[in-house]
């Protein structure tokens, strides 16, 4: 495989069997890296990082809340890119990727909202507030639910794939809105501290565990994405076999 160019390999792994072989080899190593990164991140986050001078120990929720929010948006971008590739290039595994990414993204978004509520109660005195950041994250969750519901409702996989791809692309306008919501509106949620034009303004001792957790979560996402894609390919094979036996 190494003598092929990138585009040739892109098309080569469109073959589900080749994808299954490669992903089968990757899942366990990626899982190990995930465990190591999250383990190290949790050590630094819970034990070896400073407390905030205002918030005390509750600031440690940030190390779960922020990476979850990042992954929720990252998963939507993966979903939207895969949908674009599915619609434009008709890559056979692109819609499998998008379908598999959706529940992961929804889970991360829900986790971000839940940990945010748990953090907001001691810090702001309220479980929820209808400001721009929280509302747009809630809309992101609704978009995920709608996407999953569309896949579940349309029975025929090819038709479902294309319809879901259109929905994912139309909804992708929400992702920049979520990110810039704290810039465009005066919100209760704090403004961006890491992904800014001027660079991160967060202390290094807090940035390191945050980044460890973020990269660990990303590896978790990639591992689970590959696992879900493998399951979806197997599910489609079962369906094809069932249809074939039904014809006989």
């Amino acid at each position: 495989m190494s003598e092929l160019s990138f585009t040739q390999r892109f098309h080569a792994y469109a073959n589900p069997t080749r994808f299954m072989t490669l992903s089968g080899k990757l899942v366990v190593p990626l899982g190990i890296v995930t465990a190591v990164l999250i383990g190290a991140g949790l050590y630094f986050a819970l034990l070896n990082s400073p407390v905030d001078y205002q918030q005390g120990e509750t600031v440690r929720i940030m190390y779960v809340h922020v990476p979850s929010a990042w992954l929720g948006m990252f998963a939507y971008m993966v979903m939207a890119s895969a949908s674009l590739i599915a619609l434009v290039f008709r890559h056979p595994l692109a819609d499998v990727c998008a379908k598999s990414a959706a529940p992961l993204g929804a889970a991360f978004t829900f986790l971000a909202l839940a940990t945010g509520s748990l953090w907001g109660r001691p810090m702001w005195g309220t479980w929820w507030v209808w400001d721009a950041r929280l509302t747009s994250m809630l809309i992101l969750l609704f978009l995920y639910f709608g996407y999953i519901a569309l896949w579940a409702t349309i029975e025929e996989p090819v038709r479902a794939a294309r319809a879901a791809a259109v929905l994912a692309l139309v909804g992708s306008i929400n992702v920049p809105i979520v990110h810039y919501s704290v810039v465009w509106w005066n919100t209760l949620h704090q403004p961006a501290s890491v992904f800014r034009v001027d660079g991160p303004e967060i202390a290094g001792s807090m940035l390191i565990p945050l980044m460890l957790m973020a990269v660990g979560f990303t590896f978790f996402f990639v591992t689970m994405l590959l696992v879900r894609m493998r399951v979806e390919i197997l599910r489609r094979r079962v369906r094809a076999l069932r249809l074939a036996t039904a014809e006989v």
Binding site: L87, T135, I139, F142, L143, F145, G146, A149, L150, T153, I154, E156, V158, R159, R162, A163, A165, V166, L167, L169, V170, G171, N174
Partner: protein, 224 residues
């Protein structure tokens, strides 16, 4: 092509008005929903006056959502959509014609009914004109964006609820700016002009996004 566009609009308007049920039932639902709200919230006229623009917009949204499956489903089931997709008009223009007919027979009657229903909610006299203006500007966006949900679920037999759920995230900017443009003092005091302009922007974006996305969704559903 203009003739084909106009004749499709005329056909859809004729179907909606003669076969019945579309616009009339939407207005009836609008009336019922607005009547339910004071029964639930309490008849305090001062409170109702403060929240009337928001309540009217939410009821308008819900009434609009209910009419979405009339957009494509009937034509899909009897094969007319297949014939239209092979006709003179590009799919995006065909979808635009249907959306225009939908707005004329559903959105416009709702906007006409809104000031009368505002009386039921003790809407302040200063808010009537901005409210109608905002609704006139916003209801085309509701039809345009709703067509996306209707097109995505056209092949699903009882897809009305799913279409509504898919479309609600896209309706939210229309709702937020529409309520602010209606001069709601409680929601966002003093920003009604900017909100009206932003509402216009949302409608213009949906003028492009709606037919293109709906046509893409119809292509996905028609082909397979």
């Amino acid at each position: 092509m203009m003739r084909a566009f106009l004749s499709l609009v005329k056909r859809d308007v004729a179907l909606a008005t003669q076969v019945g049920g579309g616009g009339g039932m939407a207005v009836f639902f609008f009336l019922v929903a607005v009547s339910l709200l004071p029964l639930g919230i309490g008849p305090n006229l001062n409170l109702l006056a403060k929240i009337a623009p928001g309540l009217l917009w939410v009821a308008l949204l819900l009434s609009s959502l209910l009419t979405l499956d009339r957009l494509f489903q009937a034509d899909f089931e009897d094969g007319t959509l297949d014939a239209l997709s092979m006709g003179a008009l590009p799919l995006e223009l065909m979808v635009s014609a249907k959306i225009m007919a939908h707005w004329l027979t559903t959105g416009l009657p709702l906007v006409v009914a809104a000031p009368f229903l505002g009386l039921l909610l003790n809407l302040g006299s200063a808010h009537f004109l901005p409210l109608v203006g905002a609704m006139l500007l916003g209801t085309p966006a509701l039809s345009l964006l709703g067509a996306i949900g209707a097109a995505l679920t056209v092949s699903v037999r009882r897809g009305g609820l799913l279409a509504s759920l898919l479309v609600i995230p896209f309706y939210l900017p229309v709702l937020i700016f529409g309520v602010a443009a209606a001069g709601s003092d409680v929601a966002m005091p003093g920003v009604s002009q900017q909100a009206m302009l932003l509402l216009g922007a949302v409608t213009l974006v949906s003028l492009v996004l709606g037919p293109v996305a709906a046509a893409a969704a119809l292509r996905a559903n028609l082909r397979s």
